[in-house]
Symmetry: C2
Subunit: 491 residues, 2 copies
């Protein structure tokens, strides 16, 4: 069944790995930790990109492009940043190869050694702030609202397709502002954009909050994040937005003259989401039969499969199918009529199920007689007969219903798997037996945070916006606490 | 005047360099040969990308993404390819930095040396064909039509913004086919897509043709190209499409089973255009006052500048301007109403002229009285009064006229600067005194091609599709020739 996908309940990890391969989303390359994003996976990512890009532009941002390579010395300029990012990097040391002595192979030319090594960007704050220095002179140049779509590289030892890869694709926003308040507003605004995208497009509910100091981005004064809950009860950080204070402005000496001519350092933010969202999307909705996609991100909304014997029947069915196809297309629905004669209907059914196409239509000889089609929903796996007449608006409504159903289902799952605990035994028991998000009081110290992590592998995912200030006792140390925070084991 | 841009007639090269900077298109980074594409430049590139991507998808191609890094040994697998590409590459030798002994700097960790060095892709044939090996088993998997949007790197010694940079952005199509004929058809089809894009969107006429064997892509059996003529009389290779035969299929052992189960090597193509097109666009249309953009690629079609004294007048003008803006937007025209109070009208006029905005509208107090606006065309620099009434459809037509005018102007320039020569003295004289494209008979030998290049720096840009087979004598050797070919000095 389902081309032998392992069951989630039996081996969640194997299920994910096989699903990514069998739904033709991505695969490992021969280069350690680097993935190949296959056309179907890339089409989903492209849909994510388009919508995010639209929202970035609607909030006043412009795209630009900065160099892939960063001089090694740049990384040392911001003290916290270098500790966080300088370590596991791909390092370019030479710029030329030459023929080997065997005449066949190529070898690195020792003559072509760089004076200063270059790092493949793990993130671009340093190279971008080095440019901002020249771009910003006066308050007239602010705010500067830049986004970059790029590949980045962090040398990871243990990799998983989409979730953790050495090279990944992402966008990184980098903005400069005249005031602290404006920069904080920007960082908060972009987190809202991410949260809205996650819920409205990925059908993935998220918890918005602040990272603890320990979990902050290297070089940030505050890190805002969205955290999502996966079907195995583990959390996944889906996006972060950072208020960087004046740290990078000071490191790269970026000042502006205000309206009175006074020189001030600018205030900064950065924010990013990556192809990791692909992992989040898969882990949120998919089932034992394969991928399940929210219609707003699906490369194909409706697949039409003809069931026929002989060319004549195929021709008759094709006529109906093409009519339906153009009616659906007129409503902006992306349709694939799969009349490939090299594959059988059963193969096609399994294929579209595995690939998470939201709606599949089958048309056979009986449907021709009765003026009907069979409609299968991918989210619930329900099948129903529909009249051919007026089918397009009904399917448009069905796609909207599927989008909504996926969000509601994920919301219910999150609600059911978010547990408030009052003491340490309860904490450990919930974590071990149920998993999911745990809301508990924490004394606010990095020491306690670290001990909980050591003992249970659970980390503080965030301090949620929507928990309240209240008196309480830390679930671990029993010291005073002012607020519940969100714990979970995480990807 | 024009913020002091050098005149083309006086110093074409300085004019280009300053224009790229002053129109805010791109700048050099601190990393040798790597450019920063600034927001305005990137917006133009984004428009190019969108249209090309649309055309690639319309011709059946899908996007995918392959690793940035290529194992060094891959380059040696295709013999011709390695000679062409393996030399000037960025080489990754290590994967970790560590703190230096001074406690402040970071140094390369000698323990973290890679077993096999990795190359930053100069082009992706090798890594892609290494994957195709797993993607292709049967004729059912063919044709495989893949495109990738990516950054690539070729370590260039002499760089110029957009025209020749170490890192550049591009797309690379890579396709696999069951038959030779189908692969050739594909390579030809994609050249037509490029030529159509150049003419219809960039308003840049091109000559379509074949490269000589010497000028072919490393690993190709045939290279098709489009060549454009710049205002200084030099040619620019704007796009190439390669028929790769079975070279990469054999190097990476990519076979398919045909309908009868027989194993065959597949046939391949690759094709690409890059941010070099930005250079071509600038060099084709721009003038001594700055950038000139064809409306189809302009990030802003119409800029509206209010001319006012005091807040009240600005409010009155804004009302008219916003009405015009929404009428224009309703026709799909991208409008910027520049009511920034920090800048004066004169500054704004110079800015939009420098940035090549196709149409600029000025609205002053007299226009309010008379119901008029002043409309300035960037291409001809003409200014005319227009009635406010029914302005939108008139400007839509004007934008179409500008697009057409730019193409016609460039076509006339190409016609005037394409010279057929019959003998060597004429060849040298035209090249020296007039420049441009030279059509001349060539004996078909690499030796003559090389000698002409040595003596004059002119190269064979292509063997144009539209020259005819005819008997003639080589302009250099006087040996037999069967066809005229296109010579020029080139970027």
């Amino acid at each position: 069944m389902a081309k032998g996908l392992p069951k989630r309940a039996e081996d969640f990890s194997a299920w994910y790995n096989e699903l990514v391969t069998k739904a033709d989303l991505a695969e490992h390359s021969d280069v350690r930790g680097c993935m190949i994003i296959k056309p179907y996976g890339y089409a989903i990512w492209d849909n994510m990109k388009s919508e995010l890009d639209r929202q970035f532009k609607a909030t006043g941002h412009q795209n630009a492009y900065f160099p892939l390579l960063i001089p090694k010395s740049y990384l040392s300029k911001e003290a916290a940043h270098v500790d966080g990012f300088a370590k596991e990097c791909a390092v370019v040391t030479h710029y030329r190869l030459k023929n080997g002595e065997d005449g066949k192979s190529v070898v690195v030319d020792p003559e072509a050694k760089l004076e200063e090594e270059l790092i493949i960007r793990p993130t671009s704050e340093t190279i971008i702030w080095n440019s901002f220095k020249n771009w910003i002179q006066s308050y007239r140049d602010l705010p500067l609202l830049i986004n970059q779509w790029a590949n980045v590289m962090r040398w990871e030892m243990r990799t998983r397709l989409f979730l953790r890869t050495s090279e990944f694709l992402w966008q990184e926003g980098h903005t400069a502002h005249a005031t602290k308040a404006e920069a904080i507003t920007e960082a908060e605004k972009m987190l809202e954009v991410y949260a809205d995208f996650a819920e409205q497009h990925m059908a993935m509910p998220v918890v918005k909050g602040w990272k603890t100091e320990t979990e902050r981005f290297a070089g940030a004064n505050e890190t805002y994040c969205i955290e999502a809950l996966m079907q195995d009860g583990k959390a996944l950080q889906a996006g972060t937005s950072h208020f960087l204070g004046q740290n990078f402005a000071k490191a790269f000496d970026v000042k502006f003259a205000d309206a009175n001519g006074k020189q001030e350092h600018v205030w900064a933010t950065s924010w990013g989401v990556s192809t990791r969202l692909m992992g989040a999307l898969i882990l949120t909705h998919s089932d034992d039969f394969g991928l399940v996609l929210p219609p707003k991100l699906a490369p194909i909304h409706v697949a039409i499969v003809p069931i026929y014997k002989g060319d004549e029947q195929l021709a008759q069915i094709s006529e109906v199918a093409n009519k339906i196809k153009s009616e659906l297309q007129a409503l902006g629905i992306i349709v694939k009529f799969d009349d490939d004669t090299k594959r059988k209907p059963g193969w096609k059914f399994a294929e579209y199920e595995m690939k998470g196409v939201p709606v599949r239509i089958a048309i056979g000889p009986k449907d021709l007689e009765k003026g009907t089609v069979e409609v299968a929903r991918r989210d619930t796996l329900e099948k129903n007969g529909y009249e051919q007449e007026d089918l397009a608006p009904k399917l448009k409504a069905l796609l909207e219903e599927i989008q909504e159903n996926l969000l509601n289902k994920a919301k219910s799952f999150n609600d059911e798997n978010t547990t408030t605990v009052e003491n340490w035994n309860e904490f450990k028991s919930v974590l071990e037996n149920k998993g999911g998000f745990i809301l508990a009081h924490w004394d606010g110290t990095a020491e306690t945070e670290e001990k909980i992590k050591q003992e249970t592998k659970a980390t503080i995912r965030c301090i949620p916006y929507d928990t309240i200030e209240e008196e309480g006792k830390c679930v671990y140390s029993s010291n005073k606490s002012t607020r519940k925070v969100l714990f979970a084991k995480a990807y």
